[in-house]
C-alpha cells in the first residue's frame, strides 16, 4: 500500500524509549544468483545422487551459513539468525528430528507458492537429542552480532501435521510443546540469549489461542533467557491484546500483509518488546528509508511511553525473495532504523 511520506527534519518530541534495533524473522535465501555459484543447491543435488557424503554436505551448509550471517551483518542487522540454511522447511527440520513423526507428501505452505512436506504423527512424540544446538554454536562462533535461535512453535507444528496417534489437537500440541521444552533448555544451556518461537498458524485459527498459551507455557518452562513469539501473514484481530499475556518478552507482528494490524496494535497499551514487521518479505519492491522511519515515528507518537524496545524486521522470513533482493531490503531496513533513531534523537 502507498503511504504518503512527509519528511521530518527535526527530532520529534516523543517519549522515544531505547534505541531502535533491527533483526530478521528467520530464514534467509539459500542460494545467490549468477554470477555467484549456487553452491548449496549443487551440493544437495550431488548428495542426493550419492556423489558426496553427509559430512561434505554439512561442510557446505556450514560455509553457506557463515556466508549468510556475513550478509546480515554487512547489511547492518543488530540481531541475526543462522538463516535456517539447513532447514528443508519450517516444519520438517524440527519434527523430522523428534521421535514419533514421519514426513509425508507436499502441501502448499499457507497462502504462498511454496510447499512443505506434511508431518504425520505416528507414535508418541519424544525429544531425544538437541536439534539446533550445534547450528547455534556454529552461528555464534561466526557472528560479531548477537544470534537468536529460531524454533517453529508447537501450535503451528501440530496444526500443519496429520495426527494418526493422539486423536486430539490439544494432546498433540502439548506433546510437541513438552518435547520442545527439551530443545529450549538445551539451547539455553548452550548459551542462547534469545529464543524465538514462530507461530504463524495461530492467526488462521484464533479460537485455539488458549491452547497456544498453554503450549508456550509448557515449552518455556525453566526458560530464563529472552524469548519471542513471531507471527506472519494475518491479522491479530481477535487475539489482541491477549497476545500480550503470552509468557514471552517480544511479540512479532506482520504489518505488511495486514496493514490494519497497525490500528489494532495502537488500540491498546503495549508493554512488551515489539517485532515491527514493516518491510515486505514477499515482494521485490523496495521500501524507502523515509517510509520506514515515518512508520516508526507514527507508531511512537501514537503509543507514547510504550513498547520498551522496538525491533524493525521484515514481515516474514526472507526465503520468498531472491538472495540479492533480501540483502538489499535488510540494508534498507537498517537505513530506515538509523533515520528513525536520528529523528527521535536516539543514539544508534
Amino acid at each position: 500500500m502507498a503511504v504518503e511520506v512527509e519528511p521530518r527534519l527535526q527530532p520529534v518530541e516523543v517519549n522515544a524509549g531505547s534505541t531502535i534495533l533491527t533483526t530478521v524473522v528467520g530464514n534467509y535465501p539459500k542460494i545467490p544468483n549468477r554470477p555467484r555459484p549456487a553452491r548449496l543447491r549443487a551440493a544437495i543435488a550431488r548428495f542426493d545422487r550419492g556423489e558426496i557424503s553427509r559430512e561434505e554436505l554439512r561442510q557446505v551448509e556450514d560455509e553457506v551459513t557463515i556466508e549468510v550471517i556475513g550478509e546480515q551483518v554487512e547489511a547492518g542487522i543488530d540481531i541475526v539468525t543462522d538463516g535456517q540454511i539447513r532447514w528443508e522447511d519450517d516444519q520438517t527440520y524440527i519434527v523430522g528430528r523428534l521421535e514419533g513423526f514421519r514426513i509425508d507428501g507436499l502441501q502448499r505452505y499457507l497462502d504462498t507458492n511454496t510447499y512443505f512436506r506434511q508431518p504425520e504423527v505416528v507414535d508418541a512424540i519424544r525429544w531425544e537429542t538437541p536439534i539446533l544446538v550445534d547450528d547455534y554454536r556454529l552461528a555464534v562462533a561466526n557472528s560479531p552480532k548477537p544470534v537468536k535461535a529460531i524454533i517453529t512453535g508447537p501450535y503451528t507444528l501440530a496444526a500443519l501435521a496429520q495426527d494418526k496417534h493422539y486423536g486430539s489437537r490439544r494432546l498433540l500440541t502439548l506433546a510437541i510443546a513438552e518435547a520442545l521444552n527439551g530443545e529450549v533448555l538445551a539451547l539455553q544451556a548452550a548459551g542462547a540469549s534469545i529464543i524465538q518461537i514462530n507461530e504463524p498458524v495461530i492467526l488462521l485459527r484464533k479460537g485455539d489461542f488458549p491452547l497456544l498459551a498453554e503450549a508456550l507455557g509448557r515449552m518455556l518452562q525453566g526458560a530464563t533467557v529472552q524469548t519471542a513469539i513471531y507471527t506472519w501473514f494475518g491479522s491479530v484481530e481477535g487475539i489482541y491484546p491477549q497476545l500480550l499475556e503470552l509468557p514471552v518478552d517480544t511479540i512479532g507482528i506482520d504489518f505488511v500483509s495486514k496493514p490494519e494490524n497497525f490500528t489494532i496494535l495502537t488500540s491498546e497499551p503495549f508493554p512488551k518488546q515489539l517485532g515491527f514487521g514493516i518491510i515486505d518479505g514477499r515482494n521485490t519492491k523496495m521500501e524507502s528509508a523515509e517510509y520506514i522511519a515515518e512508520r516508526v515515528l507514527t507508531l511512537k507518537e501514537q503509543m507514547p511511553g510504550q513498547i520498551p524496545q522496538l525491533y524493525l524486521n521484515p514481515s516474514c522470513g526472507l526465503e520468498y525473495l531472491p538472495r540479492e533482493v533480501a540483502q538489499a531490503k535488510l540494508a534498507r531496513l537498517v537505513e530506515g532504523a538509523r533515520l528513525a533513531n536520528k529523528q527521535l534523537g536516539l543514539q544508534p
Binding site: K30, A38, R117, T284, E319, P322
Partner: protein, 326 residues
C-alpha cells in the same frame, strides 16, 4: 452423440534433443532459429502420438514453454524475469516481476497454435495461463494492489484469447492452478478477471485447476464462466467425487476428469483407469464427461507420458464399449 471425449491438459515432456537445445540456446551456443526448429520437430512428434492414439482434441504440448508463468512474462515488456526463489526441497524457479503497466503487445501463443493446427484435422486447444495465477506467481513492483494487477492481466489475456479465436481456435483452456490460494479474500476477483478474459470471445473455454485445496472452492468454482472444469481426480483416488455427491456439478457444464496421476512414475492399469471412469459416470452423464490426465505430463519421461496416454485411451474404449457408445 459425443461422449467421453479425450484430450490432454497441456504440457508433454520435452525430448532430450530439445532439452539440450534449450540449454545451448540459454548459453548462447545455439541460434534462436535452431531452437524453434527443434520445438516444432518435438511438437510434430506429440501431434503424431496423440493422433496415433485416437485422441479427440489435441494439445500442442508446450514444447516452447519452460514454465507456464515465465513463458508469458518473457514476452511482455511490462514483466521481467527475477532471481531464483525456492519452491520446496532443492527446487528453485525464476520468479517474474511486474515492473510496468501490463499491456498486450502482440500474439504470444498464436503462431505455435497455428503451426500445430496445420498438422492435424483434429481441433487443437489454445492454451493460456489465467490472470490470477499469472499475478499470484509473480512479484509486483508496479501496482498498488493485487486487484489492479489481476484485472490488467485479464485484459492482456483477453486480447490473446481474441487472437486465438480469430486464428480459428475452437477450444481455449485457461489454467488457474493458483485460484484457491486465498479463496476467502480473492475468489470473487479471480472470477471477475476470468470473465474479462472470455468476454465475447467465440470459443469454448475450459479451465484446469490443480494442487491443494480444491474442496475450499467447490461449488464456488462453478461460477467460473467456462464450459469445462478439469480437476485432478486420480491423484487422490477419486476422493473429489465426494464433492459432486454433496453438491451436484452444474447441469450446463462439462467435467474434465483426470484419470492418470502425473506425479507417479508407475503406469496405471487399464482396469484401474476404467474403474475411475465408471465411478465418475455414477454421478455425471457420459456426454458431459471428458477423459484426461490429471495435469500436464511434462514431469514424466516421454515413454511414461505415452504409456499413460495409451492406458487412458484403452480404458476409455473399454467403458465406451460397455455403454454401447462407438
Amino acid at each position: 452423440m459425443t461422449a467421453l471425449l479425450t484430450t490432454a491438459v497441456g504440457s508433454y515432456p520435452k525430448p532430450d534433443y530439445l532439452l539440450k537445445a534449450r540449454s545451448e540456446y540459454t548459453q548462447g551456443k545455439l541460434p534462436r532459429q535452431e531452437l524453434e526448429k527443434r520445438e516444432r520437430q518435438a511438437t510434430e512428434y506429440w501431434v503424431g502420438v496423440q493422433e496415433g492414439l485416437g485422441m479427440d482434441i489435441l494439445v500442442h504440448g508446450e514444447m516452447e514453454r519452460g514454465d507456464m508463468v515465465a513463458y508469458f512474462a518473457e514476452l511482455l515488456d511490462s514483466m521481467k524475469i527475477g532471481g531464483l526463489v525456492r519452491s520446496y526441497g532443492n527446487r528453485y524457479y525464476h520468479k517474474p516481476i511486474i515492473v510496468d503497466k501490463l499491456k498486450w503487445q502482440g500474439p504470444m501463443t498464436v503462431e505455435m497454435w497455428r503451426f500445430t493446427q496445420g498438422l492435424s484435422e483434429k481441433p487443437v486447444k489454445g492454451m493460456l495461463t489465467g490472470p490470477y495465477t499469472m499475478v499470484e506467481w509473480s512479484f509486483d513492483e508496479y501496482y498498488p494492489s493485487r486487484r489492479e494487477a489481476v484485472l490488467d492481466m485479464a485484459a492482456v489475456l483477453h486480447q490473446e484469447a481474441v487472437e486465438l479465436s480469430k486464428a480459428g481456435a475452437r477450444y481455449i483452456q485457461i489454467d488457474e492452478p493458483a485460484i484457491h490460494t486465498r479463496p476467502d479474500d480473492d475468489f470473487d476477483l479471480a472470477v471477475e478477471a476470468f470473465q474479462i478474459v472470455v468476454q465475447d470471445v467465440p470459443a469454448e473455454f475450459h479451465t484446469h485447476i490443480c494442487y491443494g485445496d480444491v474442496e475450499r472452492i467447490y461449488p464456488d468454482m462453478l461460477r467460473l464462466p467456462v464450459k469445462q472444469i478439469h480437476l485432478a481426480f486420480k491423484n487422490s483416488d477419486f476422493e473429489l467425487l465426494e464433492l459432486l455427491e454433496r453438491h451436484p456439478f452444474a447441469a450446463d457444464r462439462e467435467l474434465g476428469v483426470g484419470v492418470v496421476d502425473v506425479h507417479n512414475h508407475a503406469v496405471e492399469s487399464v482396469e484401474e483407469v476404467a474403474d475411475g471412469i465408471r465411478q465418475t459416470l455414477r454421478l455425471m452423464p457420459a456426454e458431459r464427461v471428458w477423459i484426461e490426465p490429471d495435469c500436464g505430463l511434462k514431469t514424466r519421461t516421454v515413454e511414461e507420458a505415452e504409456a499413460k496416454l495409451r492406458v487412458m485411451m484403452e480404458a476409455t474404449q473399454v467403458v465406451k464399449k460397455e455403454l454401447g457408445i462407438d
